[in-house]
């Protein structure tokens, strides 16, 4: 990789340093090479860029506002905190930026059917939505446990016309949904496009999803310059697979004075059940890429845990693994309990009910804000709204609704 830039990855082999790659069954290789070729071609095409932008604006509702969370900033006695409000997007999270990009690609590749995996159901809903919009049949794979804890999203997907397949194999969560989606893909390789929901999977997915999500960071950069006349001191985002974080971070990677923090899910604690792949994982290969993975000493993938279904994944996007090694981004983690407190705090003080995923990023800010310089500017990615989580939270708080 070129020196003095953090933005040149991946290389031609789909690697970010030693991470990434194309670790998939032979049956799929011709197809992922085709996806790569098609993506390279369209990403520079004016007609594609314009169509993508048009839908982001008129259908998703972009640009999402950059909101100065004044009450929160005052209360925490710390820096000026801005929320990048991707929770206001159509379907309630950042996921739709990516599904929109991928469905346009699937369309140009003349694919006939869409599949996707989902954990929290947000990516499933975002996929089902664009499939309804562009008239594609679609099948969404969802682990049985997630299916039960995110029932409203299951119903949403069905309303949108998707088939939702309950996955009962393995640990019955996101990783198993992804296994099942890959099994579908090798079986229906000729006509099916797989819309992966995060910066994970084989090359070119980590790059492609990052590029589609980068609209978040590009907008934020423009907006903060307008509001503050300068770049922020810190960006902060939660990390499941890492797509909302990559989307915010990427356009700032070469702005060396902008610090960045990714927040993983520490679940019940880093020495108990958690989903902190960067903090506690080992180098390995899962779902097509080499990265940090939660696994036992035999190389079996271990079951992650987080209160937030969207962070409940045993791996992390390869670009994050590389950004960790290069120390460009700092990775930390917060527990279920801390995230839950942040969820309540934001609701009360800003009138914004955040999803449990960005509540992790907020929880870290709440812990550290008072130690940060008051004249600093922070942008936090409010990448999803909490409607989908009210049942989980109510249960946790032992409240009947």
């Amino acid at each position: 990789m070129k020196r003095n830039t953090y933005k040149s990855g991946p290389d031609i082999n789909g690697r970010f340093g030693k991470y990434g790659g194309r670790f998939v069954a032979e049956t799929l290789v011709p197809l992922i090479l085709e996806v790569e070729k098609a993506y390279k071609k369209i990403k520079k095409k004016k007609s594609f860029i314009n169509e993508f932008k048009k839908y982001l604006k008129d259908y998703v509702g972009r640009p999402s506002p950059l909101y100065f969370a004044e009450n929160l900033s005052k209360k925490l006695k710390g820096p000026k905190i801005y929320f990048k409000r991707d929770e206001l997007n159509h379907t309630g999270a950042h996921k739709i930026n990516n599904t929109l990009g991928q469905i346009l690609l699937a369309k140009t590749m003349e694919k006939k059917r869409i599949i996707a995996e989902t954990g929290a159901g947000q990516h499933g809903v975002a996929t089902a939505t664009v499939c309804a919009l562009f008239n594609f049949p679609c099948t969404i794979y969802m682990g049985e446990i997630d299916y039960e804890r995110q029932k409203p999203n299951v119903f949403r997907m069905r309303l949108l016309g998707a088939d939702v397949e309950k996955v009962k194999s393995g640990s019955k969560t996101l990783k198993d949904a992804m296994n099942e989606a890959l099994r579908d893909w090798v079986t229906n390789v000729n006509d099916t496009f797989y819309i992966i929901g995060s910066v994970a999977g084989p090359h070119p997915y980590p790059e492609m999803v990052r590029d589609f999500q980068s609209v978040i960071g590009h907008e934020a950069k423009e907006q903060i310059k307008k509001k503050e006349g300068k770049l922020p001191n810190l960006l902060i985002a939660c990390i499941g697979g890492g797509s909302n974080a990559m989307g915010l971070f990427y356009p700032f990677l070469n702005d060396i004075n902008v610090k960045m923090i990714g927040v993983e899910a520490a679940g019940e604690g880093l020495n108990k059940k958690h989903a902190a792949s960067i903090a506690k994982g080992h180098l390995g290969v899962l779902h097509g890429s080499k990265t940090y993975i939660l696994q036992d000493k035999d190389g079996q993938i271990t079951e992650p845990h987080s209160i937030s279904a969207g962070l409940d994944y045993p791996g992390v996007g390869p670009e994050h693994a590389w950004l960790k090694d290069t120390k460009r981004v700092k990775y930390v983690s917060v527990t279920d309990k801390e995230a839950l407190e942040a969820f309540k705090f934001s609701s009360r003080i800003e009138g914004i009910i955040p999803a449990l995923e960005p509540s992790h990023a907020l929880a870290y800010l709440i812990k550290k804000a008072s130690k940060m310089p008051k004249d600093n500017i922070v942008i936090m990615n409010m990448c999803g709204r909490g409607d989908k989580d009210i049942f989980t939270v109510a249960k946790k708080l032992k409240i009947n609704i």
Partner: protein, 271 residues
């Protein structure tokens, strides 16, 4: 013991006899270490020419429900790569002439350590390795180190493989080519078709390596039919189904082993 290419010898022998070879796939440690050893030990006398032994993995992405469950049983009974090597070591004490190949996914191998893995493969006279999620694009990971150590790294070809792709695949292929008969996962339905025959003929024009065909081959008829086209056939899920059947019927271990081996005998009887 000096390294002998018994895999190559086996295919030569099959060729002289004008016989199609039978490759059986079982998961190491399914349903437990001892029972799977008893199956393994008797496979050659039931007519198996080459043994494929699955290395258990928690997330077998290319496998259907039957092999997924076999992996699950093995892992539940604490099977791992170290014990898989012990299993082979025991097998090799009495059998030195049946080629044995390990098949699995990359993560457990990577975690075990590449050098450690290769040393154990050589030490236990394992003749080749198939890793489902290591396509030619990732040859640097394990394929090239294996070849350097003179262990066969067996490559897969599929119905999605065109000629240009196949040339890339055979560049570092050795041992034999494993042709996957269908686009799909293990345990799906194999359907006899002309296209498959043509594809095999086409591959044969491009490589001298023997071609084994697998995935979805379910019974004597499939085996018989394919034997006219391929140098060897691979049967996996339908053998493992016999383990599952025996478990369901609560057979004792001896009866379970017999249930599996009798089925293997049936398969080999048509070759």
């Amino acid at each position: 013991m000096p390294y002998k290419d018994i895999l190559k010898n086996k295919f030569n022998e099959l060729k002289t006899k004008k016989k199609c070879g039978l490759i059986s796939f079982i998961t190491a440690g399914d349903p437990d270490f001892n029972t799977s050893f008893q199956i393994l030990e008797k496979l050659p006398e039931c007519g198996v020419d080459i043994i494929e032994l699955g290395m258990p993995f928690s997330d077998p992405m290319a496998d259907g429900p039957i092999i997924q469950r076999a992996n699950g049983r093995a892992i539940k009974n604490k099977m791992n790569l170290k014990k898989t090597f012990e299993l082979v070591k025991r097998f090799r004490k009495k059998n030195y002439n049946t080629p044995l190949i390990l098949m699995g996914y990359y993560n457990p191998v990577h975690r075990f350590g590449i050098n450690n893995f290769i040393n154990n493969v050589k030490k236990n006279n394992i003749n080749g390795v198939i890793i489902v999620d290591l396509p030619p694009e990732e040859d640097n990971e394990l394929c090239l180190p294996m070849i350097k150590n003179k262990v066969h790294f067996i490559k897969l070809a599929t119905p999605t493989t065109n000629n240009i792709r196949f040339k890339k695949i055979i560049k570092h292929a050795s041992g034999f080519i494993y042709y996957i008969s269908i686009t799909g996962i293990t345990g799906a339905n194999y359907k006899s078709n002309q296209k498959l025959g043509n594809q095999i003929k086409n591959l044969k024009k491009m490589t001298k390596l023997p071609i084994a065909v697998g995935f979805g081959i379910k019974n004597k008829n499939d085996v018989k039919e394919l034997s006219k086209r391929a140098d060897a056939v691979v049967v996996g899920s339908s053998i493992i189904k016999k383990v599952e059947e025996a478990e369901k019927k609560k057979y004792n271990k001896k009866k379970l082993v017999d249930n599996v081996l009798n089925y293997v005998k049936q398969l080999s009887s048509v070759l």
